[in-house]
């Protein structure tokens, strides 16, 4: 076989397949970037060669002054450095980006939306739509109304496992309601004063993320509520988990929220009797 045949075969073979990046991969990256700080560039530019004599003199005086103040503070503290050394705070490792290959899309038969969740998670699907400001779950967050799609990493995940539970439901927007009043009538009415609230977007729609962490935990659980309006419907997307893993929860929830896409919503089902 000639070199030319070989090169042609290699180029043909290397050219196989599509190079188009799956959109979900890009969505995941852009979501991660929102919560990932850039590293600071700590290199100091060496600029003395471009400074005037006056500037050098001023810089020299400033350095001497800083060193002098530092020395005085050291003397004032009785050279106690070392004897009172405090342990440096340990920062938890940053949450890991969820590999796109570990996520699978879940499409709601009741509501038509799609969201990516972790492979192997179980789902109890809604059998009717939500009606107005009807509570998404009762006094026990593990028991949702039949209107909520419930997706979780095992049925007892809240009590035993590190993973939590996703509840999603929507209702035709009650008359006169907007995002603010919908949030107040569902999220805040259910859980009270939140830890924080932030404006976010869900599939291009303005939304509110309301969190209940620590002292503001709702029913003893950390909860993150997203409220959003779309297509004449008002939605609740809720993440519930044990307390103690809020950082990881926030990171994970934001990642999967980035995959949420509204779909065709079927007609609302009759109000419960």
């Amino acid at each position: 076989m000639s070199d030319r045949q070989f090169e042609r075969a290699v180029l043909d073979w290397l050219g196989d397949g599509s190079d188009r990046t799956p959109p979900a991969a890009i969505d995941g990256v852009l979501l991660a970037v929102k919560t990932t700080p850039q590293e600071r560039d700590l290199r100091i530019p060496w600029r003395f060669t471009r400074m005037t004599t006056t500037m050098r003199l001023a810089a020299g005086i400033a350095i001497v002054a800083v060193l002098g103040v530092g020395a005085l503070q050291l003397l004032g503290s009785g050279f106690s450095v070392g004897s009172k050394a405090t342990p440096s705070p340990t920062t938890p490792p940053p949450p890991t980006q969820l590999p796109a290959s570990e996520l699978v899309p879940f499409t709601s038969a009741q509501y038509g939306y799609t969201i990516s969740v972790i492979k192997g998670w179980g789902a109890v699907v809604a059998t009717r739509t939500l009606h107005g400001t009807e509570p998404l779950y009762g006094n026990d967050p593990q028991i949702n109304t039949p209107a909520g799609d419930s997706i979780m990493g095992g049925f007892d995940a809240i009590q035993k496992g590190p993973t939590g539970r996703l509840l999603i439901a929507g209702s035709p927007t009650p008359a006169g309601m907007n995002l603010g009043s919908w949030t107040a009538a569902t999220t805040v009415a259910k859980c009270g004063t939140p830890t924080s609230q932030a404006a976010i977007t869900i599939d291009g729609e303005a939304a509110t993320l309301t969190t209940y962490f620590g002292g503001q935990a709702c029913f003893g659980l950390s909860q993150q509520w997203v409220t959003v309006m779309h297509g004449g419907w008002a939605w609740n997307i809720v993440w519930i988990d044990n307390q103690g893993s809020e950082t990881a929860d926030a990171f994970f929830f934001q990642q999967i929220l980035g995959t949420f896409r509204f779909g065709q919503v079927p007609a609302s089902s009759p109000a419960p009797s």
Binding site: M1, F6, A9, V10, L11, D12, W13, L14, D16, G17, D19, R20, T21, P22, A25, I26, G28, V29, L30, A32, V33, K34, T36, P37, Q38, E39, R40, D41, Q97, P99, A100, S101
Partner: protein
């Protein structure tokens, strides 16, 4: 590459970075997919590499070197992630059966399969040099600079990779000729 975009992303502008990602992701994904021979794994590696690029952008001193710098981060991510995901050998390609009667197509399919098999046996560092040279079109000096290795190392990696693939290609040719002999 848009210098302004890179500079804005370097100073923390997330929207600029999003635009930059849309510009570079296909190229980086293509390189990762070819080195790893697994689209799912390539996707994971691309995500890790892009997040690393975002984190480390403030350290990039010369904006003009962004492409090479990004390739280096990507290849490093390939080295880091591939050993943890030993599922490379499972890709199944559907071949058009109605064309298999054509001897040239048989040859082409056979060539590709042999090249694929031989490539998967190569160490990742040889694969990376081979892909950057033959797919991206980088000269060896640029590959050496990109990967931070001596010129001679880049040359020897390309040599060994090419030799292995050439042997596989010749083997496929020999088998094809024998097969045609049997059919005649």
């Amino acid at each position: 590459m848009d210098r302004d975009l890179i500079e804005r992303a370097r100073s923390g502008d997330q929207q600029a970075f999003a635009d930059l990602v849309h510009q570079v992701s296909d190229t980086l994904y293509g390189v990762a997919r070819r080195i790893l021979r697994d689209p799912g794994l390539a996707e994971d590696v691309l995500q890790n590499a892009l997040v690393t690029i975002w984190r480390k952008l403030p350290h990039l001193r010369e904006v003009d070197r962004f492409d090479g710098w990004a390739f280096r981060i990507l290849v490093t991510a390939c080295y880091a992630d591939a050993p943890r995901n030993r599922r490379w050998a499972t890709t199944i390609r559907v071949l058009p059966v109605d064309r298999a009667d054509d001897a040239d197509d048989y040859r082409s399919i056979s060539d590709r399969d042999e090249l694929e098999r031989a490539f998967r046996l190569l160490p990742l560092d040889q694969r990376a040099v081979f892909v950057l040279h033959h797919h991206v079109g980088l000269p060896l000096v640029a590959i050496a600079e990109t990967l931070g290795i001596p010129d001679g190392t880049a040359r020897s990696r390309l040599h060994y990779a090419t030799r292995a693939l050439r042997a596989a290609f010749d083997e496929a040719g020999t088998r094809g000729a024998q097969r045609e002999g049997h059919l005649a």
